[in-house]
Chain length 207, copies 4
């Protein structure tokens, strides 16, 4: 597939794999994606270049895996033994959504998260294969949390029953992503709150 033939993954060095992850994330954060090179990652990780090319098809794939690992660890740490990270359900839908949207805004403003995920998103925009993997492995699981909370809202009578929730969530996540990626205007808590309110109650006058 990749090489002449597939390498034997049972003999893979875990030490090297982790060193490569760390080096990739560090370099992207420090010097940016464009100036991060496979050669640089290998040197920083104390690893031969071939060890990278043996297991990953591209710089972007290394970074994607490294970032996935990172977020998994972070999620595990946050969940503290609990099942998985979730959107809270206090009964107040608007408040719950604002909480999570504000948290998202904070993440997008934190360089440790912003820089690598920006790089991945950019690469995925141009490279369909990686983009699909990015969406499937990273994005979609997070979006499904919205679906779950909105479904609970439906049952509580806070969300219209006739909605496609997979679409509904994009009214919340889309605007944030828009500002984050396209740099039109700053991403603030106030904006997060406004998006939640506008989405829940609509642009048209009520009644």
């Amino acid at each position: 597939m990749a090489d002449s033939r597939a390498p034997d993954s049972t003999r893979r060095s875990d030490r090297s794999r982790r060193a490569i992850h760390d080096a990739a994330l560090a370099l992207v954060t420090e010097v940016g994606y464009a100036k991060t090179t496979v050669e640089g990652i290998a040197a920083r990780a104390g690893v031969g270049k071939q060890t990278i090319y043996r297991w990953w098809p591209s710089k972007a794939a290394v970074l994607l895996e490294a970032f996935l690992d990172l977020t998994e660890q972070a999620a595990r740490a946050a969940a503290d033994g609990a099942a998985t990270y979730e959107i809270p359900d206090t009964g107040d839908l608007a408040a719950d959504l604002k909480l999570v949207l504000r948290a998202t805004v904070d993440e997008m403003n934190d360089p440790a998260f912003d820089l690598p995920s920006r790089a991945l998103a950019a690469e995925g925009i141009v490279n369909a294969e990686l983009g699909a993997e990015f969406a499937r492995k990273l994005l979609e699981p997070q979006l499904q949390l919205y679906v779950k909370r909105l479904r609970a809202g439906q049952e509580a009578g806070d969300v219209r029953r006739d909605l496609d929730l997979r679409i509904a969530l994009e009214l919340l996540a889309g605007p944030l992503a828009h500002r984050w990626l396209l740099r039109t205007l700053p991403l603030t808590h106030a904006y997060a709150d406004a998006v939640a309110d506008y989405a829940l109650y609509g642009l048209a006058p009520r009644g």
Copy 2:
């Protein structure tokens, strides 16, 4: 030593400028942004490399200008001599928004538009300076068309008076951009319609 600043733009060759635009767009469409090189653009345009470096700071800047030129021509053609392109106002806000959102979906699904703008968006995501220029020159003028139509809606009583329309428009454009850039799900007319409806009438049940 260096070109020691400020080439004389009055003596600039228009022929070369246009050939470079065309070559850049063609190459990005044909082989993708990453494999498009300055050398390649120069060769394709029948131009010396220095002619590119004299007038543009980077490959991305060439493409941005070329794309701007392209959209301007397209807009001029569409407007057929009229001032500029606008969102129509038939009195039916939902219908008008759906019309323009569907048109946007169509553009995003047309390779001649999709490939170069995707490349520019991706570059802008990682390169703040270019991103800002992309937003200012390309994005913002289009977004202001929504503000204008929504303001008319406010006056007609179809849009709540207490809204910040610059935010309101993002409920419409954000979800489309989200699907376009992040490749979560396909971009269809049905989706455009749903976004317009959900945004106008809100996720929460009415009165």
Copy 3:
């Protein structure tokens, strides 16, 4: 840590040794010395790389041993059970020398001999240690055959008594090696004959 010295040669696999010899000779003949790699030899021989590195210090050493083995077998076959290969002594020194020089020319024109020995000679030219081993194990024994025949010539009155025969022989072998290695002019039987005649009777006019 390292193989910490001295593998146990009593447990060595003869099968592997021979397979490595064969693979080395085959590859040198087929693709040339420079493109013959230790990895290639190992793969062709169906052997682990370490098995080569355990028993030989270098690619050149493998080839030298393989070639030694080959020439020994060839000599054994030619001598047909007799002690060793010898220059015949028919009483006619010039004829005997021409016979063996012509045979040498034939060998040098036979790819199965030419290619590997060329490779070894070339390596020995640049690598003093291997060169010395090449000379001692392969060359010198053959040259001593000339000494023996020339000594018999001395006793028969066909060779001057005041000569250093170790030097004398080089008047015969040197010119052939010169053409063989340095590719100045083609190596033919006529050339071999001329060398024998010129060397025996001298360049200066007689009497």
Copy 4:
């Protein structure tokens, strides 16, 4: 031929060409041919690798040209304005030959000459194309000097009239090359003298 198309040799940088020559000779002398790399030559010469690959097909070709340049300069210096280097003609053929053979022995024992020419000879032994060029450009011109002196000898009655002088010279040069390249025994002035004497007067007893 070499690249996609031939580079424009009128725009070639002479400074780089010379720096590359010098670096190649220095490295071969200092670390040996095998450890001399194109990358190393480029670095030492303060030159991009591509500048080497643009003008030469291989490391060996660089070295050959560098060495040719060197010997030409040396010859020009030795000839001190005279036409070209020649074998002297004092009327005593044996003495003249010994003089030039001893000089050859001295060259072969001088590392500044020995190391690069050994490397070239070795490469030429394995690489027919380079070997032919080596013979044609470097070797043959020198060998023709012998032909000239021997022809004068013929006219003076010191050399048999029935000889092919192109072959005769190899009785002199061949044995020296043999010891030089194949490292059988040391190359001394005494050996040079013996070769001249044996070749001139023959191995067989005189009348």
